[in-house]
Point group: C2
Chain length 392, copies 2
Amino acid sequence: MTSKSFHPPVRTLMGPGPSDVNPRILEAMSRPTIGHLDPAFVGLMDEMKGLLRYAFQTDHELTMPVSAPGSAGMETCFVNLVEPGDKVVVCQNGVFGGRMKENVERCGATAVMVEDEWGKAVDTNKVDEALRANPDAKVLAFVHAETSTGALSDAKTLAEIAHRHDCLVIADCVTSLGGSPIMTSEWGLDAVYSGTQKCLSCTPGLSPVTFSERAVEAIKQRSSTVQSWFMDLNLVLGYWGGGAKRAYHHTAPVNALYGLHEALVVLEEEGIENAWQRHTDNHMALRAGIEAMGLSFVVDEADRLPQLNAVSIPEGVDDAAVRGRLLNEYNLEIGAGLGPMAGKIWRIGLMGYASNRTNVLLCLGALDAVLSGMGAPIKSGVAVEAAMQAYA
Amino acid sequence: MTSKSFHPPVRTLMGPGPSDVNPRILEAMSRPTIGHLDPAFVGLMDEMKGLLRYAFQTDHELTMPVSAPGSAGMETCFVNLVEPGDKVVVCQNGVFGGRMKENVERCGATAVMVEDEWGKAVDTNKVDEALRANPDAKVLAFVHAETSTGALSDAKTLAEIAHRHDCLVIADCVTSLGGSPIMTSEWGLDAVYSGTQKCLSCTPGLSPVTFSERAVEAIKQRSSTVQSWFMDLNLVLGYWGGGAKRAYHHTAPVNALYGLHEALVVLEEEGIENAWQRHTDNHMALRAGIEAMGLSFVVDEADRLPQLNAVSIPEGVDDAAVRGRLLNEYNLEIGAGLGPMAGKIWRIGLMGYASNRTNVLLCLGALDAVLSGMGAPIKSGVAVEAAMQAYA
């Protein structure tokens, strides 16, 4: 007998996710497990679908959480909507567009890439050109909120363009759900996937998805079987599809779903517009402090995500050393850059429950202390005050 | 604002899973979330791999939990080991063999079925014949513990036969892990998947898997890309594969993994042989009570799973009415039959934390009261006493 119970350190999570989890949600997850076919659980599932529709701002009937992380939600969208031989226009302006390409190709389809510089929004003109050049494209796929760079793209315009070219729209809203407006129905997004561990303040492990009637029709009209048994919506819907009689598909992650339900109740209590505004307000305060220090943002002002702040690392500053000191001395996690941005940017999350004044001030004070302590070229002692003024 | 926090009823879970969750595990899951790349979390992952090796009785390096339910663990085994054009011999003696067939076919491979009656163990002679008749078969797949019927098959002999025919072995051990002996290395099981919500007493949502060196070699030698991005072990291993430098693949379900770790610590504290014995002891007591009532088991004595007791429903008894009364009046969940066994059997789980004397006595007392109250042809008033004598 050598192993002991694990007691994690208490961190402040201001990276790209998971973000700080609301204690109400942790408590909800620890409630007694019941069966996945228990009438009480079936009632919870129905209520959750309604709450997810509110979060996605849609009335799509097919709205539910996939029983696995956001990457599986992404794959659920692709394997159900894309068939071998299809053509998909994929926008890439960060890590997750590349992952979409992988998904398309593993479906036996062709990905036509529209590439933009990392840190920029997707260029809608280039997308229009790509769709003109590929009239046989069936799907346009893009990332609404690029977690790897902090750039927000214009989902509404992208969806308009796609529909003009008779394409379905798959949108990655992992980082935007609950933090920035997603008007799924108004914008005509046909398949949207997200995660629970970002602006919903829930633990990681589930992926909310929503599909339009048009998308459901496309799934029904498939000529080939969905390559994944676990993610085949034709089967999953026997369980999640509603009605008193639920067919067993897989055993639902009961307690994780308690947590997501509580997260959605919290969102409904706050009001989604208020949640969006809170994310903006805290971003503006963080921004005031970051800029007062003399640091700069990676993304153009118009395209910045309030919940994911990508900040350029000053010349000569040791990325890993800074993040290590923040973690070890302040119990504060901020995110590293990915791919070509590794070592060049920090990703400071202000997501969901973590988007609050205490976190903004803690982060600014800690960054100021660590950077000035390491002799970095910043203006010290002004960041916290600048943030407080922004709140005033 | 219309939704409220969900407070589940407190049930006793004696169905086919989820089973009662140890309160220690619920508490562990409610601990503060930390990042999936936090050094403290990476330490937890390493320890968990060791604990899973103990549970699987193996030293396989590639032993880890898939971040999704058991069905995704099954799919992880098939999509990584089976390529288009391969031939797989699949044993079916219940629901889950049929699911294996679905997985094989969705990989573009051919399933050669070896069918046995539901409720019987897999016939090893028929498997030997099938492998003789199909010398080009690459994999033998079978269910060790059929959750749909309560039958245990002889995994050791099946693996021996498979290896004689130069086949890899995929074994479904969802219901056996922690409840019945699985000697992964000794028996030569090449790919094993399980679930957390049965004899590990954890919440549902994760799927422990383990792969032999031979299986890992087969994955490395693949000529085609794994069709699932989320389940591609070549990618997943960048995160779970060990070493201080973990590459981001997907965001791990951090709190669910706290729960699984705690479940494995509990198993190590008890000792796995003691856990197996406890499952047998409680089964024997339940059996004494069931038989004293005049009810009978579906599975032959030699092949009965102690953790899943399939009991024939007496002629003329209304299945749904009995289960409904047990749930509503006793907060006791037992399982229904699936497929051809619907309405004909009950599945009484004694899994993990739920395998205890209190549950055995509660279940017998409740069944006795409900059945005799409905005028069912049972011998009333003797079951609890018979179980107590079995414990004596």
